[in-house]
């Protein structure tokens, strides 16, 4: 790998790590289910960027794009179903604060 490409890879990896940290922080520190979903979305964005970057560096953008398309389809389905779960939680408990969702506690 040429020094320029290696430097580019390094900067991208640094930003991907920082975006990942933001997503994990959002999931851990939020007391709101919608915000936890937003944190999950941010994590997925970081992974998407990593896949596209590696595809670009390996000269396999086509394969990377095919994988990212699959990832986006899964992401959409997860978000729709999770949105439904949040609405159900709100309908039964009148809150989306995970600390107050104690119905399933054994």
């Amino acid at each position: 790998m040429s020094p320029n490409t290696l430097e580019m890879f390094r900067y991208f990896v640094i930003f991907i790590i920082l975006i990942f940290i933001s997503g994990v922080y959002c999931i851990l520190m939020s007391f709101n289910l919608v915000r936890a979903l937003i944190g999950l979305e941010i994590l997925i964005k970081a992974v998407t960027l990593l896949i596209i970057l590696v595809g670009y560096l390996c000269g396999q953008s086509a394969l990377a794009q095919a994988i990212v398309l699959t990832l986006i389809v899964i992401e959409i389905v997860v978000m729709v179903v999770a949105g439904g779960v949040v609405l159900w939680a709100f309908r039964f408990n009148k809150t989306i604060d995970p600390r107050r969702l104690s119905n399933l506690r054994g």
């Binding site: 937003i38 964005k45 998407t48 596209i52 699959t70 986006i72 978000m79």
Partner: protein
């Protein structure tokens, strides 16, 4: 390279804003802007089809889903909103600090050793990759979409009682 760095920096800023903003609708808008910037980076990295998907689906459709979910939930009263703001400010105050410290440490100490990337040869068109090489992915997508449709029917149906 410089434009990529600027885009990455703006991407990080929008992510931090999305996480730290108080109102949920603002966070959803921040997420849409994040997706749009990510789409621009993807386009610059030679992935136009994935960029278009990211822009239309993640920036558009997911924002609609989130705004629909937020609109169904209850608005906080003014007193609780004030209390919540103070709580959130205390909890999320550390994020920019963590990002700055970790960023400086990574810039200073992260060294990636020289290595040779594997160079594959295959179709240049993502459509031919998807239809000719990744059959199992397509099957998985179909199954997941069907599961998603069932999920939507179950979770969003009206209670007739």
């Amino acid at each position: 390279m410089t434009l990529n760095l600027i885009l990455l920096f703006v991407l990080l800023l929008t992510v931090i804003w999305t996480v730290m903003t108080i109102r949920l609708v603002h966070a959803v808008v921040g997420l849409a802007v994040t997706s749009a910037i990510l789409a621009a980076i993807m386009y610059r990295l030679g992935s136009p089809l994935a960029a278009v998907f990211e822009l239309s689906v993640c920036s558009g459709l997911i924002s609609v889903i989130f705004i629909t979910t937020v609109s169904f939930t209850q608005r906080l009263s003014k007193e609780r909103l004030l209390i919540r703001r103070r709580e959130r400010l205390l909890r999320f105050l550390y994020l920019p600090l963590i990002i700055i410290v970790v960023g400086i440490l990574l810039v200073k100490y992260l060294r990636i050793p020289q290595f040779n990337l594997p160079y594959f040869t295959g179709p240049e068109d993502p459509r031919s990759v998807l239809w000719n090489l990744r059959h199992l992915d397509l099957l998985g997508q179909a199954v997941i979409l069907i599961a998603g449709v069932f999920g939507v029917v179950v979770f969003f149906k009206e209670d007739n009682k």
